[in-house]
Amino acid sequence: MKKMTTLLGAALLASTAATSAFGAETLHMIMCGDDTTPGIPVQQGLISDWEKQNPDFKVEVEFVPWGQCQEKSMTLAAAGNPAALSYMGSRTLKQLAKNGLIIPMDLTDEEKASYAAPILGTVTWDGKIWGLPRAFSTKALFYNKKLFKEAGLDPEKGPQTFDELLADAKVITEKTDAAGYAMAGASFDNSMHQFLNLVYSNGGQVIDADGNIDFDSANNVQTMELVKNLVPYAEPGPVAYNRGKLETLMGEEKAAMMIDGHWLYDRVPADVDMGVVPVPAGPMGKHSSLLITDSLAVFKGSGQEDAAMSLAKFLTSPDHQMAYDIAEGYTPIRGGQKVDELLAKDPSWKPFIDIIPAGGPEPFVTDYVSMQDSINEALQGVILGEVDPKEAIETAAENLEDAQ
């Protein structure tokens, strides 16, 4: 009997020990994309470090394909069963914040100062910061030097203005087998992004400083005129193309110019000789770029808000974030010595980093899908020749009021 009691006692002790060892609370984190990108091992290492410092938690990272990722996080939150921490396009933050589904980030002045103001602008609404920037991109105009040469253009001089862009696209279309300009017009978020790069470079905007819709402007009509004028020199049927498909055309040298992020260098064959210049400036503006960030957002109602906040801050602290940016090939979110080293090693980053202070944030609206649809529909109408640029901008501006 005594033996039995001792055995039972030992079993109870062992089970208690096991419970404390394996009893760490699971913290659910949603990441967009898959786990094969080069930054993921860096992130996983950092998560392990955080878990060592916070032994009460075990982070379970769920990778969700881009097409469903944001919808999944938002649907879970709306259903009252949110992930503790989610990777979100920053454009969704206002919608989430307005509906009380995420909590504002608790940043010290020093932490805020570590970000460039335009970057913080992509996650700020109503005076509060709603996400910590995790991935950042700026855009520039890539051009194919071989096709420029073939068309009799100077391969060392990319277009600097809307007029030069149009003239170069025309010459290339007429003198080579390639399209002059790669234009996105599919029902996709990055078609709108491509257009907004041109909008900002012509002094236009979607929303003014007070948060009102300011899309119906002479600047934006002029930018839409450029789109209309570029259509004959773009690839056939731009409405079927999103940015990803255009990258294939650039890789195959079937298009000579395209606005894109630095990652295009990695997506075209090494023997495609490309130059890069800032997005051409319109008659009413100067070189600019759309600044897009994706963020880590802490959801309300998981019961692990403090731990999720701690993890988000840990992952995005200056050194950790820089390691992730460099591994992924993203535009570095913060400046500093590491950026200087990056520029010294690879000067092709210069136009993407220099443009940050002149860039504009992705518009912050309550219903971003509605905004995307409104702008894309205007673009498609002009590309298909169904509406003139002025009417397209006016209609889009009216529809954007609903998105606000």
Partner: protein, 298 residues
């Protein structure tokens, strides 16, 4: 006068056996349906707090091009179902013919139905591509096109492309179903007609067609319901574009409820779909009942 027969006690046991099935039906069909109807009268969205809004969602729906979407859905369905039936019937006749290799042909017709829909549609998406796609390339080689043509970039071409893909996926089932019906037609009828000198077309028109008509009716109604509800083909190819040219009721509902998180407005659209599909179902059951009473369907 004899005494009335003693009243038989009600046997509750069979009803008791039905209870689990009834409970499951209530939980997985009736409750979500009732919840959808309730949501359609609220402003449900991402905001956890919802309010009753009466018919506002329905008014908004009809004010925002919804009648146009309904019309487009019916045109899409009629085009697609008609083509599936015509091609399926023709394929069934060919597969029913006594020719060598018939069994192999019957197997080979099935891949479009067997291949996962998403994969099949992605393949079609590439085929419709102007620069790299097979259709545009072939048309250029044959001199039908002077340059690359993007089938998904233009409204009418995109609409027809989604119809073609839907027909490709849906036809094998129609063909096999009608083939099965044809094989049920008694052979002696054909032999008698052949003895009387009836031509092949006459035999088809006067024997085959009337006898497989119940199967055609059943398949056309089922196909109409499936096509009406079809989502993945359009979503993968065009997401409802360009400029809403391929936005059907299902796509519109998904965009409203899931992409834009307007659950209340989405629910109102879903209710409309339920009404339309209920009408189809009622028609289907009425037809089946009529045919059954005539003894055509056993």
């Amino acid at each position: 006068m004899s005494a009335p027969a003693p009243k038989k006690p009600v046997d509750w046991f069979p009803y008791l056996l039905l209870l689990p099935a009834l409970a499951v039906t209530l939980i997985i069909v009736a409750w979500p349906l009732a919840e959808t109807v309730r949501l359609s009268f609220t402003d449900a969205s991402m905001n956890p707090v919802t309010h009753y809004v009466g018919l506002e969602n329905y008014q908004k729906m009809f004010a925002r091009r919804f009648p146009e979407v309904i019309g487009r859905t019916f045109v899409w369905m009629v085009f697609s179902v008609s083509l599936k039936l015509l091609i399926g019937l023709y394929a069934a006749v060919l597969l029913n013919a006594a020719v060598p290799g018939r069994t192999l042909a019957r197997i080979l017709i099935m891949p479009p139905w067997i291949v996962p829909v998403a994969i099949g549609v992605f393949i079609w998406g590439w085929m419709y591509n102007g620069q790299f796609g097979m259709i545009s390339g072939l048309a250029q080689r044959l001199g039908l096109l002077s340059g690359p043509f993007e089938f998904l970039a233009y409204k009418n071409a995109a609409f027809l492309s989604t119809v073609v893909t839907d027909v490709w996926i849906g036809t094998p089932l129609v063909a096999v179903y009608l083939l099965a019906a044809m094989q049920g037609v008694p052979r002696d009828l054909y032999e008698a007609a052949w003895t009387d000198g009836a031509s092949r077309f006459y035999r088809f028109r006067r024997i085959t067609l009337p006898l497989i008509m119940p199967a055609i009716a059943t398949m056309s109604l089922l196909s109409a319901i499936w096509t009406f509800n079809s989502f993945d083909i359009i979503w993968i190819l065009t997401e409802g574009g360009p400029r809403n040219a391929t936005t059907t009721m299902i796509i519109d509902t998904y965009k409203t409820a899931i992409s834009r998180f307007h659950y209340g407005e989405g629910a109102a659209r879903a209710v409309m779909i339920v009404i339309f599909l209920s009408l189809f179902s009622a028609l289907y059951f009425a037809l089946i009942r009529k045919l059954s009473s005539r003894g055509d369907v056993k």
